[in-house]
Amino acid sequence: MINIFTKFSSQLLIGLGWTVFSSIIALFFSLIIGTIFAIMEVLPSKVMRTIGRAYVEIMRNIPLLVITMFFYLVIPNYVVKISGFTAGTIGLTLYTSAFIAETIRSGIQSVSGGQMEGARSTGMTYWQAMRYIILPQAFKIVIPPLGNQFVNLVKNSSVLAFVAGFDLMYQANTIASTTFDTINSYLVVGILYLIITLPLSYYMQHLEKKLA
C-alpha cells in the first residue's frame, strides 16, 4: 500500500486536486441555484412555486449517474461539447442544488411567518424582508445540514470516474488496472477521501452541537 502512495503520488495528488476542485465549484453553484429555487418555492406566486417544486423533485428523484452521463454523452450530440470534468461537475451541481434547495426551503419556513409580516409592517418590501431578515436567519439554521451536503458532494464527485473526469476515483481505476493491486489501490484513495471528508463531518457535528 505504501508503494502505491509513493509510486503514484503525483497521479494521486492530481486526482485529489480535481476532486476538491470539482466539489468546490459544484458547492458554489449549487448554493446559488439551490437558494434561488428555495426562494421560488416559498414565493406567493403559484407558478413560481410549481416551477421550483418541479425542479427539486426531478433532480432529487433521478440518479446522479444518469444526470452526469446525460451531460457527457447526450448533450454534446445536440448542444455543445463539454469535457468529462465539466459534465461531471454540472451533474453534481444540479443534483446537489436540489438537496440544498430542500434544506434552505425548510430553513426559511422554520423562520416564523410573523417575522416576515413584522418586517413588512416596518415598510420593507417583500424582497428586502427576505434579503435582510429571513435569509440570514435561515442560513444560520441550515449551516450544519449544508455542511453534510458538502461531505456528500465530495463523496458523490466519484461519479466523475465514469466520465473520465480525472478525479481520485478515476486515478484509482487506472492505478488498479496498471498495478493489478486492486484492493490496495482503492484503499489508498479511500484514505485520501477520508482525509477530506472525516474532518469536515466531525467539524459539522461539533458545529451542530454548538448551535443546538
Binding site: N61, I62, P63, L64, L65, V66, I183, Y186, L198
Partner: protein, 217 residues
C-alpha cells in the same frame, strides 16, 4: 423519430424493465437488511457501553465518509480475500446494506436521542429495566418520527443502485448501457426512459413518505 420507435421497442423496453426489477429487488432487500442492522447499530451507539459505542461509531463514520463506489469495489473485489465470493447481485446487496446500515444507524441514534431524556427516566422510575424502557417507551416514538427519513433513505438507495453498473450488475442502468451500446442512436431515448422510470419509482415513494410523515405529525 424512427430512432425513438426502434429504441423503445417492446424488446428493449422489456430488457430495461428486467433491469428495473433487479434494481428494485436489490433495493428492497438492502433496505430491509439495513433497517434491522442499522437499528441494532443505532441502539448500540445510544447505549451507555462506552467503548463498544465508540468503536461502532468510528466504523460507521468511516463508512459514511467514503464514496459508495469504493464500498462496492471492496465488496466485490475484497470479500474473496475472506473466503466469500459473492456474485454481482449479492455483492451489490452487501455493499448497499453496509452503506445504508451506517446511514440508518445514525438516523436511529439521533431519533432515539430526540425522544426526550425525561421519557427514559420516567419509564425507568416505574420500575422498567433499560431494555424494557427502550423497547416499550422510547423506540415506538422514535420510529414513528423516523419513518419519513427512512423512506427518503430508501429513495437514495434506489438511485444509488445505479452505481453498481460498474461491476456489471444487471440493473436498470447497466441494461440501458447494453441497449445504447448496440446502437449509438438509441442514447437519447434510453436516457429519457431511464429518467422517467427512475423518477416514477422514486417520486412515488417520496410522495408516500411525505404523506405518512404528514399523517403521523
Amino acid at each position: 423519430m424512427q430512432n425513438w420507435i426502434n429504441a423503445l421497442s417492446w424488446l428493449n423496453l422489456r430488457f430495461l424493465l428486467m433491469g428495473l426489477w433487479v434494481t428494485i429487488y436489490i433495493s428492497v432487500i438492502s433496505v430491509i437488511l439495513s433497517f434491522i442492522i442499522g437499528s441494532i447499530l443505532g441502539i448500540i451507539r445510544y447505549s451507555k457501553i462506552k467503548w463498544i459505542s465508540k468503536i461502532v461509531g468510528f466504523i460507521i463514520d468511516i463508512i459514511r465518509n467514503v464514496p459508495l463506489l469504493l464500498i462496492i469495489f471492496f465488496t466485490y473485489f475484497g470479500l474473496p480475500n475472506f473466503g466469500l465470493r459473492p456474485e454481482t447481485i449479492p455483492a451489490a446487496i452487501i455493499a448497499m446494506t453496509v452503506f445504508e446500515s451506517s446511514m440508518i444507524a445514525e438516523i436511529v441514534r439521533s431519533g432515539i436521542q430526540s425522544v426526550s431524556e425525561g421519557q427514559m427516566e420516567g419509564a425507568r422510575s416505574t420500575g422498567m429495566s433499560f431494555v424494557q424502557a427502550l423497547w416499550h417507551v422510547v423506540l415506538p416514538q422514535a420510529y414513528k418520527n423516523m419513518i419519513p427519513t427512512i423512506i427518503s433513505q430508501f429513495v437514495s438507495l434506489i438511485k444509488d443502485t445505479s452505481l453498481a453498473t460498474i461491476i456489471v450488475v444487471p440493473e436498470m442502468m447497466q441494461h440501458a448501457q447494453v441497449i445504447y451500446g448496440q446502437n449509438a442512436n438509441y442514447i437519447l431515448p434510453m436516457f429519457a426512459a431511464l429518467a422517467v422510470l427512475y423518477f416514477i419509482v422514486c417520486f412515488t415513494l417520496s410522495v408516500i413518505g411525505n404523506a405518512i410523515g404528514r399523517h403521523l405529525s
